[in-house]
Symmetry: C2
Amino acid sequence: MSKLVIVGTVAFDAIETPFGKTDKILGGAATFIGLAASQFHVDSAIVSIVGGDFPDSYLSLLKENHIDISGIEIVKEGKTFFWSGKYHNDMNSRDTLSTELNVLADFKPKVPENYKDANIVMLGNLHPLTQISVLEQMNQRPKLVILDTMNFWMDNALSDLKEVISKVDVITINDEEARQLTGEYSLLVAARKINEMGPKYVVIKKGEHGALLFHDDNVFFAPALPLEEVFDPTGAGDTFAGGFAGYLAKTNDVSFENMKNAVIYGSTLASFCVEKFGAERMINLEHGEVHRRLQQFKDLTQFEIELT
Amino acid sequence: MSKLVIVGTVAFDAIETPFGKTDKILGGAATFIGLAASQFHVDSAIVSIVGGDFPDSYLSLLKENHIDISGIEIVKEGKTFFWSGKYHNDMNSRDTLSTELNVLADFKPKVPENYKDANIVMLGNLHPLTQISVLEQMNQRPKLVILDTMNFWMDNALSDLKEVISKVDVITINDEEARQLTGEYSLLVAARKINEMGPKYVVIKKGEHGALLFHDDNVFFAPALPLEEVFDPTGAGDTFAGGFAGYLAKTNDVSFENMKNAVIYGSTLASFCVEKFGAERMINLEHGEVHRRLQQFKDLTQFEIELT
């Protein structure tokens, strides 16, 4: 069993989809990552920042899910990071309606002392320099560093982004971002170029079209589970990353073979996330449910062909 | 081993992609289906029509690939069906530049006598009434009838299309067409509605995003193999269908379990088709190449998770 440090936003989201809209609800990359990783009962800590307006009940909720919150700084006089967005009818694209950085503008992450020896670090989407500052606080180079990022940093902080990319083992990125980052349309070629930038493992997330894991000449693919209804995609990518990191932390095995399973777990957990608004479905998600859905993933993808 | 009847166009295509353009080359749904099915050395016959301008060398090529061409009517004074199209940069969409029906306008398919007892019939994309006329010529209801169709018939011959759909066991259709046919965005719900229209098995093709097979409450998914370069997508869907039908004909087992393998074979063969213009890659495709790519499909999708 490994210790897992999760860095990212803990936030308020307000979401509108064709199915309805929410007021400010619990959101943020680290929240989704943490809740997903909590399925594996690993020792995990979130490093983040919130304002005085952030409800104690949300912090308690994270604690109840076995997440160490001593690394979440509370700025009493500040306001919590807020994002609101509206999904289009096909749920594959969205417009950001507003982004209020608030306390996140001055976020200086502080890794708790007892997590500076963590062997897995999950860097959720943040400014690349903020992500780097977390790595610099670790007592030693962690066994595995996983990076999530997005196109915003490619547009606004590319050289910083390239620096953090050069320092990590795994990058998770979506298909359009992989293409933007490399200028290559073929994801196979894009992944190879990203490999050359540093990460030995590249995970390309394709939303409803699944996820690809690349390492050397190996490729593994996990589909998204076909669902009757995608209710709200918010947090699905972070949930995927959290399931991926949590499974690796639990098994403490970072081989390619085991990463395949981590991708399957990530996809499985993401398939729950999209079924309700925000993180609602991830709270109190039960082991039995996850187990049944893993079986669905096996049924969906496994076959027996005799190669002659 | 089953006999396989393939109905569809044998045609000229002129194709333009970001990689280049062709003059009139060998194309047509039945051509791609037949070449893919020929990988399995089954007894297959193409039922189609061409004009006097169709080269003997193309007919010989089909014969050399073990395809019975006695059901291909040659109208000496007529011209062969011609399609030309241009793919956009992402290769996921195309514009039709011209369609000349020529001899296809009066096509009355005639199933050769020695194929009227075939137990598998693959109805390639044609007018639904033309597809039905083939079924009516069979001595008895075939063991398995597979239908491919497209949105053109939904727009222009919906009631005829629904009639042929009600008569088949398997339908292959792309994701947008499944949505158009049912008015449902979720492919899971769309497949269920198509089930209710007749076909017990529904295959939804998602191009570069793979294919889904639905039967009762079972779902199986096969990705498209990630490729360095998609050179020309023309015929990939028909090649998929031909691999699917050919494998089922060879194994003579139409169970859901075996259809999974048929989907994998279809995807495997389609992954070759897109590597060169038109049918070029499918001609003289060798067993060893197919075998190696099947192994790649296994590596891409198979995993070992202990469910606890």
